[in-house]
């Protein structure tokens, strides 16, 4: 094994034995696992109860129907995605749930319910479902109706009603699905619609704007209908008007073509930018400590008697690169397991991202930009290590360097998420220190081949120049003693041909 590989292996082993490495290695898998567990066991119960005291006897059923319709819309949406995922949409090609997830209009949801709803769909799906497919779990109904508790008067005005309900608003109330927190109580007076007769609502203090808005919308619709009827409109004409709805056709894009898929496809490259930043900062710091240890320990002389400074430098970079690849490989492996062997929200989130890696050139580009970015930043860390006598010295260099790297990168990423082809990401794609970050961030949104090839050539040239200068710095600085050099001396060290 030559000197470079020996140094690389030693660096690799040294970093692998640190606690920091293992913490970093396990942070992503842990995050995935926690999100899985949290999604399964720690999801906050969303369903709450509501009570309607309707002195008119006209509005309560309509409110209940509207709230249920919204819930059935969500069931339909999730069922459509499930049918697509487990390829059971062919069980009933004409069914509304077999057409992929999209926006569904109220009449379409009504039709789904009228056709037997979830139960009928599951009956159709069951014979075609793959053995390893999990059972479909419908989303819980967010709002459950509850009967007015015994002892709460509904015929003595809103004041008494509200007072009597106060204890219930602080606790749970019986519903068809068990006891649930009472989130909203509605009192509709007998002469609702007359001036000075508002509908009164009491909440349990938590935000339930959606529920309140649904109740208010249904009451408004009722009042409008009443107004139309009293204006002389015949019941038949009113029924026709009410049946009128804006003819809207919502077309879902083919997979990979719409905004949702673009965002999903962008996840992996964007995630790589974050991971690159995090990995290179942490492992770079470890290497920095290693170099400073070698310098401050004075053990460099023993090493340099056996191998050239260049071999030491390449070995360190190679070892650090191996650390970076190990981390990324571990994270990707965990993500694959989570995506394809586990079910749940995280899996549904990761699967399309990993599925986007379906072309070799995309994988090659991702790996190239990641490694180039890793190398470019690692070399900066290595240079700082060579120039510093202690971690205190290193911090003086490191703080501005980290700021200069991270701040523009974060701004660029925000910009790239909104507009992958925006000015900032495009300009930063051609500034070598930021090129890997900018190109990774933009890859998900699509980048021209010219830009990919151009930035690749530029990065290769830049890495070569950086390696050459770092080599000079290594040769000149490894055994240097005294104060770290100022900027002028630093430049001189890099460019002098014959080190003192």
């Amino acid at each position: 094994m030559n000197g470079v590989l020996l140094v690389a292996a030693r660096e690799f082993r040294q970093i692998v034995t640190t606690r920091g490495f293992w913490v970093m290695l396990l942070v992503v898998p842990l995050a995935i696992a926690v999100s899985q567990v949290a999604g399964r066991f720690a999801a906050p119960p969303l369903n709450v109860a509501y009570v309607v005291a309707d002195a008119t006897g006209q509005y309560a059923p309509a409110i209940e129907h509207r709230i249920d319709l919204v819930h059935q819309g969500r069931v339909l949406g999730d069922l459509s995605a499930y049918a697509k995922r487990w390829k059971v949409d062919a069980a009933a090609p004409g069914a509304i749930w077999a057409q992929g997830r999209r926006w569904f209009s109220a009449p379409e949801v009504e039709a789904f319910v009228a056709a037997g709803g979830l139960a009928a769909a599951q009956r159709a799906i069951a014979p075609r479902l793959a053995p390893d497919a999990p059972a479909f779990t419908p989303p819980p109904a967010p709002y459950l109706p509850a009967a007015v508790p015994a002892g709460v008067p509904t015929d003595q005005g809103p004041g008494r009603f509200g007072d009597a309900l106060q204890p219930w608003l602080k606790g749970d109330i019986a519903t068809a699905e068990g006891r649930r927190p009472l989130a909203l109580a509605v009192y509709i007076p007998a002469n609702f619609g007359a001036p000075g007769e508002p509908v009164r609502m009491w909440t349990n203090g938590r935000p339930n704007d959606v529920l309140i808005e649904m109740v208010r919308g249904e009451l408004t619709a009722g009042l409008r209908a009443k107004a139309l009827r009293t204006s002389g409109l015949t019941p038949g004409a009113y029924a026709r008007i009410e049946a009128v709805s804006a003819p809207v056709v919502v077309s879902a894009p083919p997979a990979g073509g719409g905004r949702e898929q673009v965002t999903t496809r962008s996840l992996l490259p964007l995630a790589l930018v974050y991971l690159l930043l995090m990995t290179v900062m942490v492992t770079g710091s470890m290497m920095l400590q290693g170099v400073i240890e070698e310098r401050s320990n004075r053990l460099l002389e023993s090493v340099l008697a056996c191998i050239r400074p260049g071999q030491l430098m390449y070995g360190k970079l190679l070892g650090l690169g191996a650390i970076g690849l190990t981390i990324i490989a571990t994270w990707v492996a965990f993500a694959m397991v989570a995506a394809f062997a586990v079910h749940g929200a995280m899996a549904d989130f990761l699967r399309p991202s990993l599925a986007s890696l379906d072309q070799p050139w995309i994988i090659a580009a991702l790996i190239f930009y990641f490694l180039a970015g890793y190398l470019i930043i690692s070399m900066i860390y290595l240079a700082i290590g060579v120039l510093s006598n202690s971690m205190q010295d290193a911090q003086a260099y490191l703080t501005p360097v980290v700021m200069v790297i991270t701040l523009p990168t974060v701004f660029m990423m925000i910009s790239a998420v909104k507009t992958p082809d925006g000015v900032l990401p495009r300009v930063m794609s051609w500034i070598p220190f930021y090129t890997p970050f900018a190109m990774l961030a933009r890859l998900g949104g699509g980048v021209s081949l010219v830009e990919v090839l151009g930035t690749t050539a530029m990065l290769i040239a830049f890495v070569a120049v950086e390696l050459f200068l770092l080599g000079r710095l290594f040769q000149a600085s490894l055994l240097r003693t005294g104060q770290p050099p100022k900027l002028g001396a630093f430049v001189k060290l890099m460019f002098q041909t014959q080190p003192d």
């Binding site: 020996l6 030693r10 040294q14 320990n297 004075r298 053990l299 002389e301 008697a305 071999q311």
Partner: protein, 318 residues
Amino acid sequence: MRGDVPRRGEATLAALVLDHVVKRFGDFTAIDDLSFAVPEGGIFGFLGGNGAGKTTSLRMALDILRPTSGRIEVLGRPPGRENAAQLGFLPEERGLYRRMSVLDTVVYFGRLKAMSAAAARKSGLALIERFGLGEWARQSVDKLSKGMSQKVQLAAALVNSPRLLILDEPFAGLDPVNQEVLEELVLEMVRGGSTVVFSTHVMQHAERLSDRLLLLSRGRKVFEGTQDEARAELPRKLSLTSRADPKGLPGVLTATATGKPRDGWSDWDLALAPGADSADLLEACTAQGFALRGFEIHKPNLHEIFLHLVGHDQEIVK
């Protein structure tokens, strides 16, 4: 000054050759036209005060530094890492990877010197045992005492059984017991056929170990040769106790009375003229009936030789 430098291409058994070597750091000349040759086998002492240029010379031999001009040969080849397999080096400034185990450290350096993993391990374990560190072989270096760490570094220098062992101030920081262990080890290496070059500013070690010496002062060679040759550089001195003034005796350069006469006998310190021999002087005293009560030949030590050749402004230790 002695010590001929073999010419390029000349058949030689020199382990290390420096031929008109100059090393400058900016405007400062650290090594000034230095030439010497270290014959294979034996122990070569590299003496000089702080800043004399010892470490710089050794670093150039190891190709850690490049000379500004001049020629260097190590085991018949130019300096370079290609020689690492046959070299052992113990630097003045000691340090080890703190989190590496003792055995891994020695094996790592063995592998850097082109040894196979198995050979480095076997040799490393033997050295670790020899230095009494067997129980610590798998402990990390940061758990060792300073003396133990120095032994580990020495083991790392010796793991490849080097033909040429370069020790830069090897006794610095060692307690007397470990200094003795190191001295014994150096002698053993030489008995095994290795050449040892060591730098020091402690004259005692050089005096006990060196077959040949090189004295450096401000980057320039002031002497190269054996200890006897070094002593010959100084006027011979002796002390005697006589009734008469010895100034007139043959070969006496100076004679200084020390103390007051007692019962007619006086103590004298004598310096002999160059080329004069103390045995001839004793014979002349007997022949001339010059009454003597004491006659003691003073053998100069390296410290005195150093001061004589280099001067008093160099920092050295007796």
